[in-house]
C-alpha cells in the first residue's frame, strides 16, 4: 500500500509546484482578466508554429533515428552525443549559431550567392520553425532511437529469417507508441517559445503567448493578465498531453536477451545521406558558436569561475531531484501531469514562487534552490518521456518474474529495474543537467550581484557591450553542458554495446 502512495505523492508535489505559484500570481492579480484580440492573435500563432515545429521535428527524426539504429560506424556514439547539443544550447547562443549559417551574411548565402542562388532570408515564420526544428530534432531523434534500440535483436533475426516486412511488423508498432509522446513534448516546448520566435520571426507577426506574458509582467505589471495567459498555456499543455495519451497505442515489443541488433535490410547509402544531412544541419551552427567563442575565452573575467560553480551546483542538484521524482512518476498519468511543468511560463512560475517565499525568507537567499526547483519542473517531462517506455517494459516483462521470486520494493528496483534502465537514466540525467546548466530562468528575479549563474554572467557581458567575452562565456557554457550531458549519458551506456 505504502508503495502505491509514492507515485501519488510525487504527482501531487509536481502539480502543487505548478498550480501553487500560478494560483499565487492569480490571487495577487485579483482574478482572471479577459484576453485582447492581440492576445488571441498571439495564441493562434503560438499554436500554429508549435504544431508545425513538432510535426516536422518528429517526421524528420524517423529516418535519421532509423539510420543511426541500423548502421554502425566509427564515431557513431560520439556523433549521437554531439548531435544532442542544440537541444541544450541557450537560446541566444543558438540564434547566433543559426544566423552564422542561415543569416543574411551567413555561410550559406556567402557560398550560394555567387552560384546564382537567390538570397536566403531566414526571417519569418519559416525561420521560427527552422530554429525550433534545430532545437528539437535532436530530442526527437534520441527518443525514437531509443524506441528502435528497445526492440529486441531476436525479433529482427526472426523477421529476417522469415522474410517478414520489418517495418510493418516491428518498427511501425514501435513508432506508433513513441511518436505521439515525442510530438506532445516538443509541441509543448514550442508553445513557450519567445526570443526565438521574435528574433527569427522578424517582428510582431511572430508574437507568442510568452511575449504577451512578459509584457504584462514587466511593463504593465498586470499580474491578472499574466496569470490568465499562464492558465491558457496550462490548458494547451494538458490538451497536448491528453491527446498524446489517446494516440499512443501499440503493444509492447516483447522480451529479449539484450543482444546487439544486426540488420539485413535498408539501403546503406540512403541511411548515410540522412545521417550526413542531420549532422550538417545540427553541427554547422555549433561550429559557428565554437569559432565565434574561441577568441573570447581569453577575455573571460575571473568572476566566471564562481558563476560556473554555482551553475554546476544547480545542474547536479536538479539531476538528483529530477531522478527522485521521475522514477515513481514513470506512468502514463505521471507523464501527463509532468507536462504541466513546461506548459507554464517560467516567468509566472518564478513570480509565483517569489510571492510564496517572500513572507518567510529574503528571496535572494533562496535564489539557487528556487532556480534548481524550476529546472526540475522543466526537465521532468523530457525525463519521463525518456524513462517511461523503459520502466513500463521492465515492469511488464520482468515485474511478474520478480514478484514470483519474492522481490519487492527497493530490492525489485535495484536488482531488476535499475540495471535495465541504465541507458535511459543516463540519457535523462545528462539532459536534465545540461538543461539546468544553460537555463537563465528565474534567477533574474531573485539574484544578488556577484551571485549570478553562468548564463546570467553571459547576458551581463552582452549588456555591457562585451560581445566578444560573452561569446567566450557562451562557448564555456556549451562545452560544460555538453560535457555534463556526455558524462551522464556515457555512464548510462557503460557495458552496453551501443
Amino acid at each position: 500500500m505504502a508503495q502505491r502512495a509514492v507515485p501519488i505523492i510525487a504527482a501531487l508535489i509536481v502539480a502543487g509546484l505548478v498550480i501553487g505559484p500560478v494560483t499565487a500570481v492569480l490571487w495577487r492579480g485579483g482574478g482572471f482578466s479577459a484576453l485582447s484580440s492581440a492576445d488571441l492573435d498571439a495564441l493562434s500563432f503560438t499554436i500554429w508554429q508549435a504544431f508545425w515545429s513538432a510535426i516536422i521535428s518528429v517526421v524528420l527524426a524517423v529516418p535519421v533515428a532509423r539510420a543511426l539504429a541500423r548502421r554502425s560506424f566509427f564515431g557513431r556514439s560520439a556523433l549521437i552525443s554531439v548531435m544532442g547539443a542544440p537541444f541544450i544550447l541557450p537560446v541566444i547562443v543558438a540564434i547566433l549559431g543559426l544566423l552564422a549559417v542561415f543569416g543574411g551574411r551567413g555561410f550559406l548565402n556567402i557560398v550560394l550567392g555567387p552560384l546564382g542562388v537567390p538570397k536566403l532570408d531566414i526571417y519569418g515564420a519559416h525561420g521560427v520553425i527552422l530554429a525550433h526544428v534545430f532545437f528539437n530534432l535532436p530530442l526527437a531523434v534520441r527518443l525514437i532511437l531509443q524506441g528502435w534500440l528497445a526492440i529486441p535483436s531476436e525479433r529482427f533475426r526472426v523477421a529476417a529469417s522469415l522474410g517478414a516486412p520489418v517495418f510493418w511488423v516491428l518498427e511501425w508498432p514501435m513508432l506508433r507508441r513513441i511518436m505521439p509522446g515525442a510530438f506532445a513534448v516538443i509541441f509543448v516546448i514550442c508553445l513557450g517559445s519567445f526570443a526565438v520566435a521574435l528574433t527569427l520571426g522578424g517582428g510582431p507577426k511572430a508574437t507568442t503567448v510568452e511575449l504577451a506574458i512578459y509584457q504584462a509582467f514587466k511593463f504593465d505589471f498586470d499580474l491578472s493578465k499574466a496569470a490568465s495567459l499562464a492558465v491558457v498555456q496550462l490548458c494547451l499543455g494538458l490538451a497536448a498531453g491528453g491527446a498524446a495519451l489517446l494516440l499512443s497505442r501499440g503493444d509492447m515489443i516483447g522480451v529479449g536477451l539484450d543482444r546487439v541488433v544486426q540488420r539485413w535490410d535498408g539501403s546503406c547509402i540512403l541511411d548515410g545521406v540522412w545521417i550526413m544531412l542531420a549532422a550538417a544541419f545540427l553541427l554547422a551552427p555549433l561550429m559557428a558558436v565554437l569559432v565565434a567563442g574561441l577568441p573570447g575565452v581569453l577575455d573571460l573575467p575571473p568572476s566566471i569561475w564562481p558563476a560556473t560553480l554555482r551553475s554546476l551546483f544547480i545542474a547536479l542538484g536538479a539531476v538528483i531531484l529530477t531522478m527522485a521524482l521521475a522514477l515513481p512518476l514513470a506512468t502514463k498519468a505521471g507523464e501527463a501531469a509532468s507536462l504541466l511543468g513546461i506548459s507554464v511560463s517560467g516567468l509566472v512560475l518564478g513570480t509565483g514562487l517569489f510571492l510564496i517565499v517572500q513572507p518567510f525568507v529574503r528571496p535572494s537567499d533562496v535564489a539557487l534552490p528556487v532556480t534548481m526547483l524550476v529546472n526540475v519542473l522543466m526537465a521532468l517531462p523530457f525525463v519521463l518521456r525518456i524513462l517511461r517506455p523503459g520502466v513500463e517494459s521492465a515492469r511488464d516483462d520482468f515485474g511478474k518474474l520478480g514478484q514470483s521470486l519474492g522481490l519487492s520494493g527497493w530490492t525489485l528496483w535495484r536488482i531488476v529495474y535499475l540495471p535495465r534502465l541504465r541507458r535511459p537514466m543516463g540519457f535523462a540525467a545528462g539532459l536534465t543537467g545540461a538543461l539546468a546548466m544553460g537555463d537563465l530562468g528565474v534567477i533574474t528575479l531573485f539574484s544578488r550581484p556577484g551571485e549570478g549563474t553562468l548564463p546570467l554572467v553571459m547576458y551581463q557581458l552582452m549588456g555591457a557591450y562585451q560581445m566578444q567575452a560573452a561569446y567566450g562565456a557562451a562557448l564555456l557554457l556549451v562545452a560544460l553542458s555538453l560535457g555534463l550531458f556526455w558524462a551522464f549519458d556515457k555512464g548510462g551506456r557503460a557495458n552496453a554495446v551501443v
Binding site: I95, L96, P204, K205, L211, Y214, R448, G463, M467
Partner: protein, 328 residues
Amino acid sequence: MKKTLLTVAGLLFGTAAIADGHQPVLTVYAPDYFGSEWGPGPSIEAAFEERCGCDLQYQTGDLLPRLLLEGARTEADVAIGFNTDVTKRARDSGMFAPHGLDLSPLTLPIDWDDDTFLPFNYGHTAFIYDNTKSDGFTSFEALLDAPDDVRVVIQDPRSSISGLALVLWVNAVYGDEAEAAWTRLAPKIVTVTQGWSESYGLFTDGEADVVLSYTTSPAYHIIAEEDLTKTAAIFEEGHYFMVELAAKLTTTDNPDLADQFMAFILTEDFQTMIPTTNWSFPAALPEAQWPAGFQDLPMPEKVLFYDENEAAALREQAIEAWRSALSQ
C-alpha cells in the same frame, strides 16, 4: 525545555549583539546591468561606503516589478534605474518619497523639477551604423527613404525600454502619420529582438547595417576598443530623450542614509563615474568635465521628450501603430 528556551534566547540576543556591532546597511535595488561588475554599481558602492561608514548592498533584477511584488514589505531603501516611460506606474504606487534636493546642479538638456525621481544619467535613442560601410543618415526621412536593402534591427517596444522609446520617438516625429512612417521603415527592418543586447550583437556580428541604440554607444567603441568606425546618425528632426532615475522608498528604515545616498548622486564623485561605466551622459556634470570620447560625440540639436503622463497616454497607440504596420 527551560534549557532550550535559554539557548534560543541566548542565540537571539547573541545575534542581536553581533548585528549591533555591524555597520548600518543601505539596501539599493537596481537593474541587473547596474549591479554587475561591468556596470557602475561596484565603483559607486566603494565611493559611497568611504563617506557613509555604512554597508551598501545591491539587490538586482527587474526593478519595478520586484518592488511592486514586495510592496510595503520591501527591504529597499533606495531604488535606482527607473526610466521615465514607466515612472508613472512607480509614482502611482505611492512607494516613493520626495528627495528634497536642490536640482540646480543638473545639466540635462531639458528642464527637470521632479521632487521624487532624481535623474542620474541620460542619453538619446539613435541609430548606429558602421561609417566605413555607409554615409549614414541626416534625418529620419533619409532613413525611411533609404533603399530597402539597408538592414535595420530594432527592439520590441513590448519587451524593451529602448524599443518603447523608439515608438515614442516615431510618434513624436510623425504624430498621426506614425503608422505610415513605420510602413516605410518596415521593409528595412530585418528583425525585432527582445532586448537591446540581442540587437547590438546582431549589429556587431554584421547581420545588420543599422541598429537602434543610443547616442552614447560609439563612446564605448572609441574609449574601450579604440574603434572609430561606429557612429550615431544625428537626425535633424531630433532625438528621443531617455533618462534614468533614482528614488527613495517611503518605507526605508534608514531615511538618513537614503537621503545621503540621494544627495551623493548629484556629486561630482558619482557623476564622473557614470560615463565610462554606464556608457551614458552624466546628469549633473558640465560638459567640460566629461571624458574626451564623450565630449567629441555628435549631439542632437533637438531633443524630443514625453513626460511620464504623456508617455503613458501615448504608449498603447504608439505600439499599435508599430504592430499593425509591421504585421502587414
